[in-house]
Amino acid sequence: MSEGEKSLLEVRDLAVTFETSRGPVEALHGVSIDVRRGETVAVVGESGSGKSTLAASVNRLLASNGTITAGSVRLDGTELTDLPERAMIAVRGSRIGMVPQDPMTGLNPTMTVGAQIAEALEVHGLASGQAARTRAVELLAAAGIADADSRFRQYPHEFSGGMRQRVLIAMALACRPELLIADEPTSALDVTVQRLVLDQMAALADELGSAVLLITHDLALAAERADRIVVMHSGRVVEEGPSRRVIDAPQEDYTKRLLAAAPSLATPMVSAEPVAAQRDRKSTAVLLSLGGVTKRYHVRGRREPLVAVDDVSIEVCRGRTVAIVGESGSGKSTTARMALRLEDADSGSVSFEGTDVSRRRGRSLQGFRRSVQPVFQNPYASLDPRYTVGRSIAEPLRVHGIGDEATRRHTVEGLLAKVALSTDLADRLPHELSGGQRQRVAIARALALEPDLVVLDEAVSALDVLVQQQILELMVTLQRELDLAYLFISHDLAVVRLVAHEVHVMQHGRVVESGDPREVFADPQHEYTKRLVAAVPRARRAGPQA
């Protein structure tokens, strides 16, 4: 792109303020970006960086408490910030398309997908009736939906997440908009699907000549997909430039930190325990052992039961991290639930320190519950919003009748210090804490009973990379100090490679490949593992330097 060329989208000194109960909060301060015709620009940042607010300001769909307080947004020379609402409605969809973040909630459940695509054409007077229908079917097919003609009449719930996102892409591009805004278009999808959907979106946008404003938290993904990258932090643009340059030679400190924190398949392991020492242990201290466990569910309207977990055998030794990777529906969470004895296996055995877990009752079961503790994915949902941090952490102690009020208070302070949180957080409520702080609280709670094994089900997936890095480091430090074992459930290969001593790859309820993650990911044997590895964005496969 030459410098003199006119921009399609020109954002200048944009400021956006949200009215909140604690007074006005400025979410964007003087943001300026440009998108040229046919170009893909990625806006990268952590949650709270203002990247989604920027996207919503462009087509003026800010939440009702948000207002643009200064600056300008020009689309091909037309000022959008002071355009009357009626005129803005004509711009939305026809000149600016939008692909939302979550395909599961982005489609109207009471309208057929075909009607929803045709509607985009109808409201802008581009086509109606049979013509709109024909065009909608073409768009569906172009977005990668097989058998588009009969799929046209189906409802959103009959489509998978990836399919729904394709429908939304078809809908956003229906009127050949000059600009497509894609706000985290694939972060809710499985990794292998992500790649396909992004490929299709790029191909279709390219064919129609639409420029793309891609909002993402994933630098590697941005590097792979965009011509230029804009890095945002706390409502400001920190750095921008051609993708290669930003990734290879970041100028700003913040960008460097982001890059360093994002794990890739080439990052050295965080846990650097000598391999020999681990091998010695393996024979001596098997903590948890799943032997050929199988779990079936009866699904309404299906004659055959769904086999969620099929003959899975996994061993976790003291002081080691065993990871299970796989996509949604692979059975990895069900396996974790059986390890926690939140579910019983239909066949096979789950034993802990040599005794069968399913036979444990009363005191023995209590003992098991103390030794094995869970940490779940969502740090927002797993803490009771009405409990103070201190009360949440002390609850396991209270449940198991350990200590009195004063000693528990003391234990809580010790635990907070252990997860690197200030002790005066004990009296705060969860909503006053950031996502990373909450996940630390959840870990502190899991450690309260001095467990031997902690089961982490996607425990770092919802966190921003910088926070994720801190939590992973914390996990490894605690493992060394307390000789903890982890059963680590994740879909993120790079994170697994960072912390796990052993990995099991699951697909359709079966373990298809196992071994040392460095070896497994460097030289995958099974087709499915190969696909998973290939789905990792290039920059993360080889590391930022490559």
Binding site: R92, G93, S94, G106, N108, P109, Q116, E158, R300, R303
Partner: protein, 325 residues
């Protein structure tokens, strides 16, 4: 066993079996409650003089009413009758319960339909209006009204309204003999107006609240934003995207309320002298007419089950996800 299990998983079969079980439960419960209550048909018809009856007279009266037989035998003989279309006879008036029910039921149904229409006409637009400016005067005002409608007992309003009309204007259609819709539509509708309005207003309150809450929730859904992002103008957005989704819970609550109405609004029917099914049960209770109460309650239960099934059908029409299951 597996065959039975798979049969159970068939939604339709399961619904029918559940309905049948519900009805058996209702019949046993009604039967038992009537027997547990003190007094029987003899004390009901002879009053305190029942104490003066000789043992022989008592025995022959018991045999006459059929209450000398063991309870199980009484239950099954009644149930057998019901299954063959014989709902029994009211001993005092010698009327067939089936005939009584066939006369009372259409009246109750008419009242129920009119009430639900009033409720929907008030509740749905009211809810939409309130949700259109949440927190504004119209929202707070209509919320206050609905709270009032919920908390003031209907019979109080009903009595006050009808006596005020009668005293002030001499207008008291319910004072005249009840006219069915077919015999005298003009009088019938006048007689139905007040009770339908009273019932309708009290049902409008939950309908209003449900509509308002669900419109507000739907407006924050991601798919509403998607629709706005593709340029759907406000009116079309309201009609095709918000309303259709918001009506799903409204259908559920209206169906439930309609089911209750079919059970007869006992108090309202009594106040306005409407010979509906609620009054029939009440009359049967005071006169210890076992057959009347048992059979009428069972008929009401059947209707309730049918209305629930019907609600499901309507539900499937508005919610494609329910259709798939």
């Amino acid at each position: 066993m597996t065959a039975l299990l798979s049969l159970w998983r068939n939604t339709f079969v399961r619904r029918v079996l559940e309905a049948a079980l519900t009805l058996v439960g209702v019949s046993v419960l009604t039967f038992a409650v009537l027997r547990v209550l003190p007094g029987d048909q003899i004390t009901a018809s002879y009053g305190i003089e029942a104490g003066a009856l000789s043992p022989d007279q008592l025995a022959s009266l018991r045999a006459y009413y059929g209450i000398d037989r063991p309870l199980v035998a009484q239950y099954f003989s009644w149930l057998g009758g019901v299954l063959t279309g014989n709902l029994g006879v009211a001993t005092q008036s010698q009327q067939d319960v089936l005939d009584m029910t066939l006369r009372a039921l259409p009246i109750t149904m008419e009242l129920a339909v009119l009430s639900i229409v009033v409720a929907l006409l008030l509740g749905v637009p009211g809810g939409l209006l309130a949700a259109s400016r949440a927190g504004a005067l119209r929202d707070n005002g209509s919320q206050l009204l609905s709270l009032l409608a919920l908390s003031v007992p209907t019979f109080l309003v009903a009595t006050a309204l009808s006596s005020w009309l009668a005293n002030r204007f001499g207008y008291n259609p319910n004072g005249e003999e009840f006219a069915t819709l077919l015999r005298d539509p003009a009088l019938n509708l006048q007689q139905m107006a007040l009770p339908a309005l009273t019932l309708g207003v009290s049902i409008a309150a939950p309908v209003f609240q449900t509509t308002r809450a669900s419109v507000l929730a739907i407006r924050d859904e991601d798919y509403i934003r998607t629709a706005r992002a593709k340029g759907v103008p406000p009116r079309r957005l309201q009609a095709r995207h918000v309303l259709r989704n918001a009506l799903i819970p409204v259908v559920t609550i209206s169906g439930l309320q309609f089911g209750f109405l079919l059970g007869g609004a006992v108090v309202i029917e009594q106040i306005f002298s409407i010979p509906g099914i609620g009054r029939q049960v009440l009359l049967g209770m005071t006169q210890k007419e076992y057959a009347v109460v048992q059979s009428t309650v069972l008929v009401i239960a059947v209707l309730f089950v049918l209305v629930n099934l019907l609600t499901d059908v309507v539900y499937r029409l508005v919610d494609p996800q329910a259709r798939a299951q």
